[in-house]
């Protein structure tokens, strides 16, 4: 198990390095140097030179990458080109909002999607199963920013039940929770469908296995067979799906934060890209990739915990 964890973490670090090399390559390959793009065509050559030096753009690309990682190891992710504040501070300020948004969305999706999938299996072949199936595919097909805009229109503009923008008053839980409802629901909606489909599909497979017949032959009630005997096995592919899907949840957070003008990583990165604030872009991408990689590793370790057979393979 330990060797397995170490191997996974090493692989994760490799992914981080590759992503950052790709990011630097992308900046390097884009026509025009970042300083000129950032300052606009009417900037004086002195100002431009100053910015190029500050951003380290006079150094070769490979040196920039090495510098970046050397600084990152000491917790220094560089400085915001415009405000000169440390990127690490900006990211740490924005991160909690995005994490709360992403995790709430995920919790909603799991809490609704998994029971819907189970219900589909228990009522397979009935109208309820068909309705859940159609709705699932329907919500998967609707992009989260469309849900965001329409829910904004209905619940904030017309009904005035929920606030349209922001993340709520600092320290006021009720107002923060209210501000969280629509953005989280916008992200969660499609995932409810995904998870319901996934749980149903893998559960249908598990329900045909002989050990389910054994559980039936002892007269266990159907809900117990579904929720304990089948779900424990059927949830495993769903965990992998959700871990991989977290990348897409975080990227929908970018759109959703933009629509609801919600402070967070998404807003930080869109603003930074628009103002060519490369240190902020690089720092944010590094942190997000690190989070994404850790979640994937955590999911694999969780699967190993849930399935003793997997655990034994790793132990050996």
């Amino acid at each position: 198990m330990l060797t397995y964890a170490v191997k996974r973490i090493g692989l994760g670090l490799l992914i981080l390095i590759l992503v950052m090399i790709a990011m630097y390559a992308a900046v390097f390959l884009v026509p025009g140097d970042p300083a000129t793009v950032a300052l606009g065509p009417r900037a004086t050559p002195e100002l431009k030179r100053l910015l190029i030096e500050r951003m380290g753009l006079d150094q070769p690309v490979w040196w920039q990458i090495i510098e970046f990682f050397r600084n990152a190891l000491t917790g220094n992710l560089g400085y915001d080109v415009w405000s000169n504040r440390p990127v690490s501070t900006l990211v740490l300020e924005a991160l909690p909002n995005t994490m709360v948004l992403g995790l709430t969305a995920l919790a909603i999706a799991l809490l609704i999607g998994v029971p819907l999938g189970c219900l589909s299996v228990m009522r397979r072949g009935t109208a309820a199963d068909a309705v859940i199936g159609v709705l699932s595919v329907g919500v998967i097909a609707v992009p989260s920013f469309v849900v965001a805009i329409y829910s904004l229109l209905v619940f904030a503009v017309t009904l005035r039940w929920l606030p349209a923008i922001g993340a709520g008053e600092a320290g006021d839980f009720a107002s923060q929770a209210k501000a969280l409802v629509m953005p989280a629901a916008a992200i969660a909606l499609g995932w409810i469908g995904y998870i319901a489909r996934m749980v149903r599909a893998s559960m249908m497979e598990v329900m045909g296995e002989p050990h389910i017949r054994t559980a039936r032959s002892f007269g266990l009630p159907e809900w117990k067979i579904v929720s304990k005997y089948a779900l424990r096995i059927a949830i495993i592919p769903t965990i992998s799906l959700v871990a991989v899907g977290l990348g897409s949840i975080l990227s929908s957070a970018v759109f959703v934060e933009a629509v609801f003008a919600r402070p967070g990583i998404g807003k930080l990165i869109t603003d930074a890209v628009n103002t060519r604030n490369y240190p902020v872009v690089m720092g944010t991408v590094l942190i997000m990739t690190a989070i994404y990689v850790s979640i994937t590793i955590a999911a694999d370790l969780l699967i190993a915990r849930l399935d003793p057979r997997v655990r034994d393979v790793f132990r050996g």
Partner: protein, 321 residues
């Protein structure tokens, strides 16, 4: 008689997109407490369908006719809920393949605890104590530790012992063992047969053992039903079936059992031909196309069940009492 089981005119057909499959036709069997009943036949003869029907575990596309009376209740007429209450309480099934019979992600102890769910009178601690005692009784050393094992950590023979323990834990009046040794190697098979023989001494319900292995049946059972193509073709005491078989199919089956040959043969005997289609069963005798004693009525008239002696019956035109 109280505690007895009798199936009368039991037929099961599966509705499939390609038409109905008549898996079981007009089967009559009976079993009394303390008896071990064997059901023998080749693959596809309907023996699994028969025990699945007795355990009320038929799939949704199965249609049942006839009756299964157990303790005065017709199991075939009970609703799904009442059937479920009988399973794991009155009726227990030891399923075919011990390698896949248990949930792979739950411990043995956890599953055996759940399987006693009908016993509302017992607490968790009492149920765990019963599991440990029962595992010891079926010959599992270190029962306490084994309760924390996952199925894949046990050998096939051990898992079959656990499966038997699970069934016995429910104190069933009817214990059905569906091919209990088929998935095991020969030494394990001998051990499991030995275990079942020991257990039957202080068990006073009905045991039904299904097997295609004549040796297993001969060693374990009091009475045997021989099945062919969804029908019981012959039934009787073990001695009568093994030494005085009257139905041509039973005779052919016995003649093909390698364990009964005294000298080495160059070529093992087989029954020529193959099983009839269960979608369109033959009008007359199901065995007629392969029978060496076939005569005029066999092809067109279904043979009656002929009473040969006390508890010895055969479904054949050629036999006479």
């Amino acid at each position: 008689m109280s505690g007895s089981l009798s199936a009368t005119g039991l037929s099961v057909r599966y509705e499939t997109p390609h038409g109905a499959v008549h898996a079981l036709r007009h089967v009559d069997i009976e079993a009394h407490p303390g008896e071990v009943i064997g059901i023998v036949g080749e693959s596809g003869c309907g023996k699994s369908t028969l025990v699945t029907a007795l355990a009320n575990l038929l799939p949704a596309n199965a249609r049942v006719e006839g009756s299964i009376r157990y303790k005065g209740v017709d199991l075939a007429k009970l609703d799904a809920h009442r059937q479920r209450l009988l399973r794991g309480d009155e009726i227990a099934l030891v399923s075919q393949d011990p390698m896949t019979a248990f949930n792979p992600v739950l411990t043995i102890g956890d599953q055996l605890l759940d399987f006693q769910h009908h016993r509302k009178d017992l607490g968790r601690g009492e149920k765990r104590a019963r599991i440990a005692a029962m595992l010891g009784r079926v010959g599992i050393a270190d029962a306490e530790r084994r309760m924390h094992s996952y199925p894949h950590e046990l050998s096939g023979g051990m898992r079959q012992r656990v499966a038997i323990a699970a069934a016995l834990l429910t104190d069933p009046g009817l214990l059905i063992a569906d091919e209990p040794t088929t998935a095991l190697d020969v030494t394990m098979e001998a051990q499991i047969i030995h275990l079942l023989r020991e257990l039957r001494r202080d068990y006073n319900g009905i045991i039904i053992v299904v097997s295609h292995h004549l040796g297993v049946i001969a060693e374990l059972c009091d009475r045997v039903y021989v099945m062919y193509a969804g029908e019981v073709v012959e039934g009787g005491e073990v001695d009568a079936i093994f030494h005085d078989a009257r139905h041509p199919y039973t005779q052919a089956l016995l003649a093909c059992d390698p364990a009964r040959f005294h000298e080495r043969l160059d070529r093992l005997p087989t029954i020529p031909g193959s099983l009839p289609s269960l979608t369109q069963p033959p009008l007359g005798c199901v065995y007629a196309p392969r029978c060496d004693r076939v005569f005029a009525p066999c092809a067109s008239i279904a043979p009656p069940l002929v009473n040969l002696a006390a508890a010895h019956v055969a479904r054949c035109h050629a036999v006479t009492p």
